[in-house]
Point group: C2
Amino acid sequence: MSEGLRERKKRETRQRISDIAMWLFVTNGFDNVTVAEVARAADVSVNTVFNYFSTKEDLLFDRQGEVEDLPSRVVRERRPRESALQALRRDFLDALDSRHHRYGFHEGSDAFTRMVAESPSLNARIREMNAAREQALARTLADETNADPDDLTPAFAAAQICAVLHRLMTHAVQRMLAGEDLNAIAPDLRRQAERGFELLESGIGDYCAGPRSAPE
Amino acid sequence: MSEGLRERKKRETRQRISDIAMWLFVTNGFDNVTVAEVARAADVSVNTVFNYFSTKEDLLFDRQGEVEDLPSRVVRERRPRESALQALRRDFLDALDSRHHRYGFHEGSDAFTRMVAESPSLNARIREMNAAREQALARTLADETNADPDDLTPAFAAAQICAVLHRLMTHAVQRMLAGEDLNAIAPDLRRQAERGFELLESGIGDYCAGPRSAPE
DNA sequence: GATAAATTTTGCAGTGACACCAAATTTGGT
DNA sequence: ACCAAATTTGGTGTCACTGCAAAATTTATC
Protein backbone atom coordinates (compact mmCIF):
# COMPACT_ATOMS: atom_id res chain seq x y z
CA MET A 1 0.00 0.00 0.00
CA SER A 2 1.32 3.38 -0.92
CA GLU A 3 -0.80 5.42 1.50
CA GLY A 4 -0.23 5.28 5.22
CA LEU A 5 -2.55 6.57 7.87
CA ARG A 6 -0.79 9.89 7.86
CA GLU A 7 -1.39 10.53 4.20
CA ARG A 8 -4.98 9.42 4.41
CA LYS A 9 -5.75 11.66 7.35
CA LYS A 10 -4.16 14.57 5.61
CA ARG A 11 -6.23 14.01 2.53
CA GLU A 12 -9.38 13.57 4.57
CA THR A 13 -8.77 16.65 6.64
CA ARG A 14 -8.10 18.72 3.58
CA GLN A 15 -11.21 17.44 1.89
CA ARG A 16 -13.34 18.00 4.98
CA ILE A 17 -12.15 21.58 5.30
CA SER A 18 -12.72 22.21 1.61
CA ASP A 19 -16.20 20.67 1.63
CA ILE A 20 -17.36 22.48 4.71
CA ALA A 21 -15.96 25.75 3.46
CA MET A 22 -17.75 25.33 0.16
CA TRP A 23 -21.01 24.62 1.93
CA LEU A 24 -20.69 27.59 4.24
CA PHE A 25 -19.66 29.95 1.47
CA VAL A 26 -22.43 28.91 -0.87
CA THR A 27 -25.15 29.14 1.75
CA ASN A 28 -23.97 32.27 3.52
CA GLY A 29 -21.89 34.15 0.94
CA PHE A 30 -18.13 34.19 0.72
CA ASP A 31 -17.66 37.46 2.54
CA ASN A 32 -20.07 36.59 5.31
CA VAL A 33 -18.11 33.58 6.47
CA THR A 34 -14.85 33.95 8.37
CA VAL A 35 -12.00 31.52 8.18
CA ALA A 36 -12.43 31.02 11.89
CA GLU A 37 -15.98 29.83 11.30
CA VAL A 38 -14.80 27.40 8.66
CA ALA A 39 -12.17 26.11 11.05
CA ARG A 40 -14.66 25.67 13.84
CA ALA A 41 -17.13 23.89 11.58
CA ALA A 42 -14.38 21.59 10.35
CA ASP A 43 -13.20 21.04 13.89
CA VAL A 44 -9.66 22.21 13.30
CA SER A 45 -7.71 25.30 14.24
CA VAL A 46 -7.45 28.33 12.03
CA ASN A 47 -3.77 27.58 11.58
CA THR A 48 -4.58 24.18 10.18
CA VAL A 49 -6.83 25.72 7.59
CA PHE A 50 -3.98 27.94 6.51
CA ASN A 51 -1.67 24.95 6.53
CA TYR A 52 -3.69 23.44 3.72
CA PHE A 53 -4.91 26.54 1.91
CA SER A 54 -2.69 29.53 1.72
CA THR A 55 -5.51 32.01 1.24
CA LYS A 56 -9.20 32.08 1.93
CA GLU A 57 -9.91 32.13 -1.80
CA ASP A 58 -7.89 28.96 -2.25
CA LEU A 59 -10.54 27.16 -0.23
CA LEU A 60 -12.67 27.37 -3.34
CA PHE A 61 -10.29 27.54 -6.26
CA ASP A 62 -8.27 24.55 -5.37
CA ARG A 63 -8.01 22.79 -8.68
CA GLN A 64 -7.36 25.98 -10.55
CA GLY A 65 -4.32 24.49 -12.25
CA GLU A 66 -6.40 22.46 -14.67
CA VAL A 67 -8.71 25.33 -15.46
CA GLU A 68 -5.80 27.61 -16.12
CA ASP A 69 -4.31 25.15 -18.53
CA LEU A 70 -7.51 24.37 -20.40
CA PRO A 71 -7.26 26.43 -23.60
CA SER A 72 -3.58 25.74 -23.78
CA ARG A 73 -4.20 22.01 -23.63
CA VAL A 74 -6.97 22.16 -26.18
CA VAL A 75 -4.57 23.76 -28.62
CA ARG A 76 -1.79 21.33 -27.82
CA GLU A 77 -4.08 18.37 -28.35
CA ARG A 78 -5.86 19.69 -31.38
CA ARG A 79 -6.49 17.44 -34.30
CA PRO A 80 -4.17 17.27 -37.26
CA ARG A 81 -4.73 20.04 -39.74
CA GLU A 82 -6.90 21.88 -37.22
CA SER A 83 -6.04 25.48 -36.43
CA ALA A 84 -5.78 26.69 -32.86
CA LEU A 85 -8.94 28.66 -33.26
CA GLN A 86 -10.86 25.78 -34.81
CA ALA A 87 -9.86 23.55 -31.94
CA LEU A 88 -10.96 26.04 -29.34
CA ARG A 89 -14.26 26.65 -31.03
CA ARG A 90 -14.92 22.96 -31.29
CA ASP A 91 -14.05 22.37 -27.66
CA PHE A 92 -16.13 25.28 -26.46
CA LEU A 93 -19.21 24.29 -28.43
CA ASP A 94 -18.78 20.68 -27.35
CA ALA A 95 -18.72 21.77 -23.75
CA LEU A 96 -21.80 23.86 -24.28
CA ASP A 97 -23.72 21.08 -25.98
CA SER A 98 -22.79 18.50 -23.39
CA ARG A 99 -23.23 20.90 -20.48
CA HIS A 100 -19.71 20.19 -19.33
CA HIS A 101 -18.51 22.39 -16.54
CA ARG A 102 -15.09 23.16 -17.99
CA TYR A 103 -16.29 26.48 -19.35
CA GLY A 104 -18.77 27.04 -16.58
CA PHE A 105 -21.78 25.30 -18.09
CA HIS A 106 -23.41 23.17 -15.51
CA GLU A 107 -26.93 23.08 -14.27
CA GLY A 108 -27.57 23.46 -10.61
CA SER A 109 -24.48 25.50 -9.93
CA ASP A 110 -26.58 28.58 -9.53
CA ALA A 111 -25.79 29.13 -5.90
CA PHE A 112 -22.09 28.70 -6.46
CA THR A 113 -22.11 31.06 -9.41
CA ARG A 114 -24.06 33.63 -7.48
CA MET A 115 -21.67 33.46 -4.60
CA VAL A 116 -18.67 34.01 -6.84
CA ALA A 117 -20.35 36.83 -8.68
CA GLU A 118 -21.27 38.59 -5.46
CA SER A 119 -17.81 38.64 -3.96
CA PRO A 120 -15.32 41.26 -5.16
CA SER A 121 -12.34 39.27 -4.02
CA LEU A 122 -13.52 36.20 -5.89
CA ASN A 123 -14.05 38.28 -8.98
CA ALA A 124 -10.51 39.46 -8.69
CA ARG A 125 -9.44 35.86 -8.47
CA ILE A 126 -11.37 35.03 -11.62
CA ARG A 127 -9.55 37.75 -13.47
CA GLU A 128 -6.27 36.45 -12.14
CA MET A 129 -7.06 32.98 -13.40
CA ASN A 130 -7.93 34.40 -16.77
CA ALA A 131 -4.57 36.13 -16.92
CA ALA A 132 -2.88 32.84 -16.11
CA ARG A 133 -4.84 31.10 -18.84
CA GLU A 134 -3.79 33.75 -21.25
CA GLN A 135 -0.15 33.35 -20.34
CA ALA A 136 -0.27 29.59 -20.65
CA LEU A 137 -1.96 29.81 -24.01
CA ALA A 138 0.54 32.36 -25.21
CA ARG A 139 3.39 30.03 -24.32
CA THR A 140 1.75 27.15 -26.10
CA LEU A 141 1.07 29.18 -29.22
CA ALA A 142 4.66 30.38 -29.23
CA ASP A 143 5.86 26.81 -28.95
CA GLU A 144 3.58 25.48 -31.62
CA THR A 145 4.53 28.15 -34.10
CA ASN A 146 8.21 28.21 -33.24
CA ALA A 147 7.83 31.90 -32.77
CA ASP A 148 10.65 34.30 -32.23
CA PRO A 149 10.71 35.07 -28.48
CA ASP A 150 10.54 38.76 -29.30
CA ASP A 151 7.44 38.36 -31.41
CA LEU A 152 4.27 39.33 -29.60
CA THR A 153 2.00 37.57 -32.05
CA PRO A 154 1.33 34.55 -29.83
CA ALA A 155 0.68 36.83 -26.90
CA PHE A 156 -1.75 38.90 -28.94
CA ALA A 157 -3.58 35.88 -30.22
CA ALA A 158 -3.80 34.36 -26.76
CA ALA A 159 -5.04 37.62 -25.31
CA GLN A 160 -7.75 37.97 -27.93
CA ILE A 161 -8.86 34.39 -27.58
CA CYS A 162 -9.02 34.46 -23.80
CA ALA A 163 -10.80 37.76 -23.88
CA VAL A 164 -13.54 36.33 -26.07
CA LEU A 165 -13.78 33.15 -24.03
CA HIS A 166 -14.05 35.20 -20.89
CA ARG A 167 -16.79 37.33 -22.40
CA LEU A 168 -18.75 34.26 -23.38
CA MET A 169 -18.44 32.70 -19.97
CA THR A 170 -19.32 35.90 -18.18
CA HIS A 171 -22.31 36.41 -20.40
CA ALA A 172 -23.62 32.93 -19.69
CA VAL A 173 -23.15 33.47 -15.99
CA GLN A 174 -24.98 36.76 -16.02
CA ARG A 175 -27.97 35.34 -17.78
CA MET A 176 -28.14 32.36 -15.50
CA LEU A 177 -27.98 34.69 -12.53
CA ALA A 178 -30.82 36.64 -14.03
CA GLY A 179 -32.87 33.52 -13.63
CA GLU A 180 -32.72 32.07 -17.12
CA ASP A 181 -32.37 28.37 -17.47
CA LEU A 182 -29.28 27.02 -19.16
CA ASN A 183 -31.34 25.00 -21.60
CA ALA A 184 -33.24 28.10 -22.55
CA ILE A 185 -30.19 30.19 -23.33
CA ALA A 186 -28.04 27.49 -24.86
CA PRO A 187 -29.15 28.11 -28.46
CA ASP A 188 -28.53 31.81 -28.23
CA LEU A 189 -25.28 31.19 -26.43
CA ARG A 190 -24.20 29.00 -29.28
CA ARG A 191 -24.99 31.70 -31.78
CA GLN A 192 -23.06 34.25 -29.77
CA ALA A 193 -20.12 31.91 -29.49
CA GLU A 194 -20.05 31.38 -33.21
CA ARG A 195 -20.16 35.10 -33.69
CA GLY A 196 -17.30 35.58 -31.25
CA PHE A 197 -15.10 33.05 -32.95
CA GLU A 198 -15.99 34.51 -36.30
CA LEU A 199 -14.78 37.89 -35.12
CA LEU A 200 -11.58 36.31 -33.88
CA GLU A 201 -11.12 34.57 -37.17
CA SER A 202 -11.79 37.40 -39.56
CA GLY A 203 -10.99 40.38 -37.43
CA ILE A 204 -12.90 43.46 -36.44
CA GLY A 205 -11.34 45.76 -38.99
CA ASP A 206 -14.58 46.81 -40.53
CA TYR A 207 -16.44 46.96 -37.26
CA CYS A 208 -17.74 50.34 -36.21
CA ALA A 209 -16.49 51.93 -39.39
CA GLY A 210 -19.63 53.78 -40.37
CA PRO A 211 -20.29 57.49 -39.82
CA ARG A 212 -20.69 58.40 -36.21
CA SER A 213 -24.15 59.89 -36.19
CA ALA A 214 -27.15 58.24 -37.78
CA PRO A 215 -26.40 55.61 -40.38
CA GLU A 216 -27.57 56.64 -43.82
CA MET B 1 -15.16 83.42 -4.64
CA SER B 2 -16.34 79.90 -4.98
CA GLU B 3 -13.88 78.28 -2.60
CA GLY B 4 -13.92 78.93 1.10
CA LEU B 5 -11.22 78.07 3.55
CA ARG B 6 -12.82 74.75 4.29
CA GLU B 7 -12.76 73.62 0.68
CA ARG B 8 -9.19 74.79 0.22
CA LYS B 9 -7.95 72.97 3.28
CA LYS B 10 -9.69 69.83 2.20
CA ARG B 11 -8.11 69.99 -1.18
CA GLU B 12 -4.70 70.71 0.29
CA THR B 13 -4.92 67.92 2.81
CA ARG B 14 -5.99 65.46 0.20
CA GLN B 15 -3.18 66.50 -2.08
CA ARG B 16 -0.61 66.36 0.70
CA ILE B 17 -1.66 62.86 1.69
CA SER B 18 -1.62 61.72 -1.91
CA ASP B 19 1.80 63.25 -2.62
CA ILE B 20 3.42 61.88 0.48
CA ALA B 21 1.92 58.47 -0.08
CA MET B 22 3.20 58.40 -3.64
CA TRP B 23 6.67 59.35 -2.47
CA LEU B 24 6.77 56.74 0.25
CA PHE B 25 5.38 54.01 -1.98
CA VAL B 26 7.77 54.71 -4.81
CA THR B 27 10.83 54.84 -2.61
CA ASN B 28 9.98 51.97 -0.27
CA GLY B 29 7.59 49.77 -2.21
CA PHE B 30 3.83 49.71 -1.89
CA ASP B 31 3.69 46.72 0.41
CA ASN B 32 6.45 47.98 2.66
CA VAL B 33 4.61 51.12 3.65
CA THR B 34 1.66 51.03 6.01
CA VAL B 35 -1.24 53.41 5.90
CA ALA B 36 -0.26 54.42 9.42
CA GLU B 37 3.13 55.51 8.16
CA VAL B 38 1.53 57.55 5.41
CA ALA B 39 -0.75 59.17 7.94
CA ARG B 40 2.11 60.00 10.27
CA ALA B 41 4.20 61.44 7.44
CA ALA B 42 1.26 63.54 6.30
CA ASP B 43 0.58 64.59 9.87
CA VAL B 44 -2.97 63.37 9.96
CA SER B 45 -4.72 60.47 11.61
CA VAL B 46 -5.24 57.14 9.90
CA ASN B 47 -8.94 57.82 9.87
CA THR B 48 -8.41 61.00 7.92
CA VAL B 49 -6.53 59.09 5.27
CA PHE B 50 -9.48 56.76 4.93
CA ASN B 51 -11.80 59.71 4.87
CA TYR B 52 -10.23 60.82 1.62
CA PHE B 53 -9.23 57.49 0.09
CA SER B 54 -11.41 54.50 0.64
CA THR B 55 -8.62 51.97 0.10
CA LYS B 56 -4.86 51.99 0.25
CA GLU B 57 -4.69 51.41 -3.50
CA ASP B 58 -6.80 54.50 -4.09
CA LEU B 59 -3.94 56.55 -2.73
CA LEU B 60 -2.25 55.89 -6.07
CA PHE B 61 -5.02 55.35 -8.57
CA ASP B 62 -6.94 58.42 -7.84
CA ARG B 63 -7.64 59.72 -11.29
CA GLN B 64 -8.49 56.30 -12.59
CA GLY B 65 -11.72 57.54 -14.07
CA GLU B 66 -10.00 59.19 -17.01
CA VAL B 67 -7.78 56.23 -17.68
CA GLU B 68 -10.74 53.89 -17.63
CA ASP B 69 -12.56 56.01 -20.14
CA LEU B 70 -9.62 56.49 -22.51
CA PRO B 71 -10.29 53.99 -25.32
CA SER B 72 -13.97 54.68 -25.09
CA ARG B 73 -13.36 58.38 -25.54
CA VAL B 74 -10.97 57.85 -28.41
CA VAL B 75 -13.65 55.97 -30.26
CA ARG B 76 -16.31 58.50 -29.42
CA GLU B 77 -14.14 61.35 -30.66
CA ARG B 78 -12.79 59.61 -33.70
CA ARG B 79 -12.56 61.43 -36.94
CA PRO B 80 -15.26 61.22 -39.58
CA ARG B 81 -15.00 58.12 -41.70
CA GLU B 82 -12.51 56.62 -39.25
CA SER B 83 -13.22 53.16 -37.87
CA ALA B 84 -12.98 52.46 -34.16
CA LEU B 85 -9.87 50.43 -34.71
CA GLN B 86 -8.21 53.05 -36.87
CA ALA B 87 -8.86 55.68 -34.24
CA LEU B 88 -7.39 53.56 -31.49
CA ARG B 89 -4.33 52.68 -33.52
CA ARG B 90 -3.77 56.31 -34.37
CA ASP B 91 -4.15 57.38 -30.77
CA PHE B 92 -1.89 54.65 -29.46
CA LEU B 93 0.88 55.33 -31.94
CA ASP B 94 0.59 59.05 -31.33
CA ALA B 95 1.01 58.47 -27.63
CA LEU B 96 4.01 56.30 -28.27
CA ASP B 97 5.66 58.81 -30.58
CA SER B 98 5.06 61.73 -28.28
CA ARG B 99 5.90 59.75 -25.14
CA HIS B 100 2.58 60.64 -23.66
CA HIS B 101 1.77 58.86 -20.47
CA ARG B 102 -1.81 57.96 -21.32
CA TYR B 103 -0.77 54.46 -22.34
CA GLY B 104 2.06 54.28 -19.89
CA PHE B 105 4.81 55.76 -22.03
CA HIS B 106 6.72 58.23 -20.01
CA GLU B 107 10.38 58.48 -19.32
CA GLY B 108 11.52 58.64 -15.77
CA SER B 109 8.58 56.74 -14.41
CA ASP B 110 10.73 53.71 -13.86
CA ALA B 111 10.44 53.73 -10.11
CA PHE B 112 6.68 54.08 -10.24
CA THR B 113 6.34 51.33 -12.78
CA ARG B 114 8.56 49.04 -10.80
CA MET B 115 6.58 49.65 -7.67
CA VAL B 116 3.31 48.80 -9.38
CA ALA B 117 4.76 45.72 -11.01
CA GLU B 118 6.14 44.43 -7.73
CA SER B 119 2.91 44.63 -5.78
CA PRO B 120 0.33 41.87 -6.25
CA SER B 121 -2.50 44.01 -4.99
CA LEU B 122 -1.63 46.78 -7.43
CA ASN B 123 -1.49 44.28 -10.24
CA ALA B 124 -4.96 43.18 -9.30
CA ARG B 125 -6.03 46.78 -9.45
CA ILE B 126 -4.55 47.15 -12.91
CA ARG B 127 -6.57 44.19 -14.11
CA GLU B 128 -9.65 45.69 -12.54
CA MET B 129 -9.09 48.95 -14.36
CA ASN B 130 -8.65 47.05 -17.59
CA ALA B 131 -11.97 45.35 -17.05
CA ALA B 132 -13.57 48.74 -16.48
CA ARG B 133 -12.01 50.05 -19.67
CA GLU B 134 -13.36 47.09 -21.54
CA GLN B 135 -16.83 47.65 -20.22
CA ALA B 136 -16.79 51.34 -21.04
CA LEU B 137 -15.56 50.64 -24.54
CA ALA B 138 -18.19 47.96 -25.04
CA ARG B 139 -20.90 50.40 -24.11
CA THR B 140 -19.55 53.01 -26.46
CA LEU B 141 -19.27 50.56 -29.34
CA ALA B 142 -22.81 49.41 -28.71
CA ASP B 143 -24.00 53.01 -28.76
CA GLU B 144 -22.09 53.93 -31.89
CA THR B 145 -23.35 50.95 -33.82
CA ASN B 146 -26.88 51.06 -32.46
CA ALA B 147 -26.42 47.45 -31.56
CA ASP B 148 -29.12 45.18 -30.30
CA PRO B 149 -28.67 44.92 -26.52
CA ASP B 150 -28.58 41.15 -26.84
CA ASP B 151 -25.77 41.22 -29.37
CA LEU B 152 -22.40 40.50 -27.88
CA THR B 153 -20.49 41.88 -30.83
CA PRO B 154 -19.55 45.17 -29.16
CA ALA B 155 -18.50 43.31 -26.06
CA PHE B 156 -16.36 40.94 -28.11
CA ALA B 157 -14.73 43.76 -30.02
CA ALA B 158 -14.06 45.74 -26.85
CA ALA B 159 -12.61 42.69 -25.16
CA GLN B 160 -10.28 41.96 -28.04
CA ILE B 161 -9.15 45.54 -28.34
CA CYS B 162 -8.52 46.00 -24.64
CA ALA B 163 -6.70 42.69 -24.50
CA VAL B 164 -4.29 43.79 -27.20
CA LEU B 165 -3.81 47.22 -25.67
CA HIS B 166 -3.12 45.63 -22.33
CA ARG B 167 -0.58 43.28 -23.89
CA LEU B 168 1.19 46.16 -25.54
CA MET B 169 1.32 48.19 -22.37
CA THR B 170 2.48 45.26 -20.29
CA HIS B 171 5.15 44.41 -22.80
CA ALA B 172 6.51 47.93 -22.76
CA VAL B 173 6.54 47.93 -19.00
CA GLN B 174 8.38 44.65 -18.81
CA ARG B 175 11.10 45.80 -21.14
CA MET B 176 11.54 49.05 -19.33
CA LEU B 177 11.79 47.18 -16.07
CA ALA B 178 14.44 44.99 -17.65
CA GLY B 179 16.50 48.12 -17.95
CA GLU B 180 15.87 49.08 -21.55
CA ASP B 181 15.44 52.71 -22.37
CA LEU B 182 12.13 53.82 -23.81
CA ASN B 183 13.84 55.46 -26.77
CA ALA B 184 15.62 52.22 -27.51
CA ILE B 185 12.51 50.08 -27.58
CA ALA B 186 10.15 52.57 -29.16
CA PRO B 187 10.77 51.45 -32.76
CA ASP B 188 10.22 47.81 -31.95
CA LEU B 189 7.23 48.71 -29.84
CA ARG B 190 5.78 50.51 -32.79
CA ARG B 191 6.26 47.49 -34.98
CA GLN B 192 4.63 45.24 -32.40
CA ALA B 193 1.73 47.63 -32.03
CA GLU B 194 1.16 47.66 -35.75
CA ARG B 195 1.24 43.89 -35.73
CA GLY B 196 -1.27 43.78 -32.89
CA PHE B 197 -3.70 46.09 -34.62
CA GLU B 198 -3.24 44.17 -37.82
CA LEU B 199 -4.26 41.00 -36.04
CA LEU B 200 -7.28 42.75 -34.62
CA GLU B 201 -8.19 44.04 -38.02
CA SER B 202 -7.81 40.91 -40.08
CA GLY B 203 -8.30 38.23 -37.48
CA ILE B 204 -6.25 35.30 -36.34
CA GLY B 205 -8.11 32.67 -38.31
CA ASP B 206 -5.09 31.40 -40.11
CA TYR B 207 -2.82 31.71 -37.12
CA CYS B 208 -1.36 28.51 -35.80
CA ALA B 209 -2.98 26.48 -38.52
CA GLY B 210 0.02 24.49 -39.65
CA PRO B 211 0.80 20.89 -38.70
CA ARG B 212 1.66 20.47 -35.09
CA SER B 213 5.11 18.97 -35.26
CA ALA B 214 7.93 20.37 -37.34
CA PRO B 215 6.91 22.66 -40.16
CA GLU B 216 7.79 21.24 -43.54
C1' DG C 1 -17.72 88.97 18.55
C1' DA C 2 -20.22 85.42 21.09
C1' DT C 3 -22.82 81.45 19.75
C1' DA C 4 -24.93 77.82 17.45
C1' DA C 5 -24.81 74.64 13.49
C1' DA C 6 -22.38 72.00 10.12
C1' DT C 7 -18.31 69.66 9.05
C1' DT C 8 -13.83 67.68 9.63
C1' DT C 9 -10.63 65.35 12.37
C1' DT C 10 -9.36 62.31 15.82
C1' DG C 11 -9.14 58.48 19.35
C1' DC C 12 -10.63 54.23 20.53
C1' DA C 13 -12.22 49.78 20.18
C1' DG C 14 -12.98 45.98 17.18
C1' DT C 15 -12.84 42.60 13.13
C1' DG C 16 -10.78 39.59 9.91
C1' DA C 17 -6.98 37.70 7.04
C1' DC C 18 -2.75 36.18 7.63
C1' DA C 19 2.41 35.52 9.53
C1' DC C 20 5.56 33.58 12.86
C1' DC C 21 6.92 30.60 16.45
C1' DA C 22 7.22 27.48 20.07
C1' DA C 23 4.74 23.90 22.48
C1' DA C 24 1.85 19.90 22.23
C1' DT C 25 0.03 16.01 19.73
C1' DT C 26 0.06 12.34 16.45
C1' DT C 27 2.29 9.02 13.50
C1' DG C 28 6.05 5.98 11.46
C1' DG C 29 9.81 3.12 12.18
C1' DT C 30 12.40 0.44 15.43
C1' DA D 1 7.64 1.29 24.30
C1' DC D 2 10.74 4.95 22.31
C1' DC D 3 12.55 8.34 19.29
C1' DA D 4 12.35 11.29 15.27
C1' DA D 5 9.55 13.48 11.93
C1' DA D 6 5.39 15.49 10.64
C1' DT D 7 1.15 17.71 12.00
C1' DT D 8 -1.68 20.50 14.80
C1' DT D 9 -2.40 24.00 17.94
C1' DG D 10 -2.31 28.30 20.79
C1' DG D 11 -0.54 32.56 21.27
C1' DT D 12 0.90 36.84 19.79
C1' DG D 13 1.28 40.33 16.39
C1' DT D 14 0.52 43.15 12.05
C1' DC D 15 -2.20 45.57 8.90
C1' DA D 16 -6.22 47.14 6.28
C1' DC D 17 -10.42 48.77 7.30
C1' DT D 18 -15.02 49.82 10.05
C1' DG D 19 -18.01 52.28 13.32
C1' DC D 20 -18.79 55.48 16.81
C1' DA D 21 -18.58 59.23 19.75
C1' DA D 22 -15.81 62.97 21.37
C1' DA D 23 -12.93 66.92 20.08
C1' DA D 24 -11.59 70.65 17.04
C1' DT D 25 -12.47 73.72 13.35
C1' DT D 26 -14.99 76.33 9.99
C1' DT D 27 -19.24 78.75 8.69
C1' DA D 28 -23.48 80.99 9.45
C1' DT D 29 -26.45 83.78 12.62
C1' DC D 30 -27.55 87.37 15.49
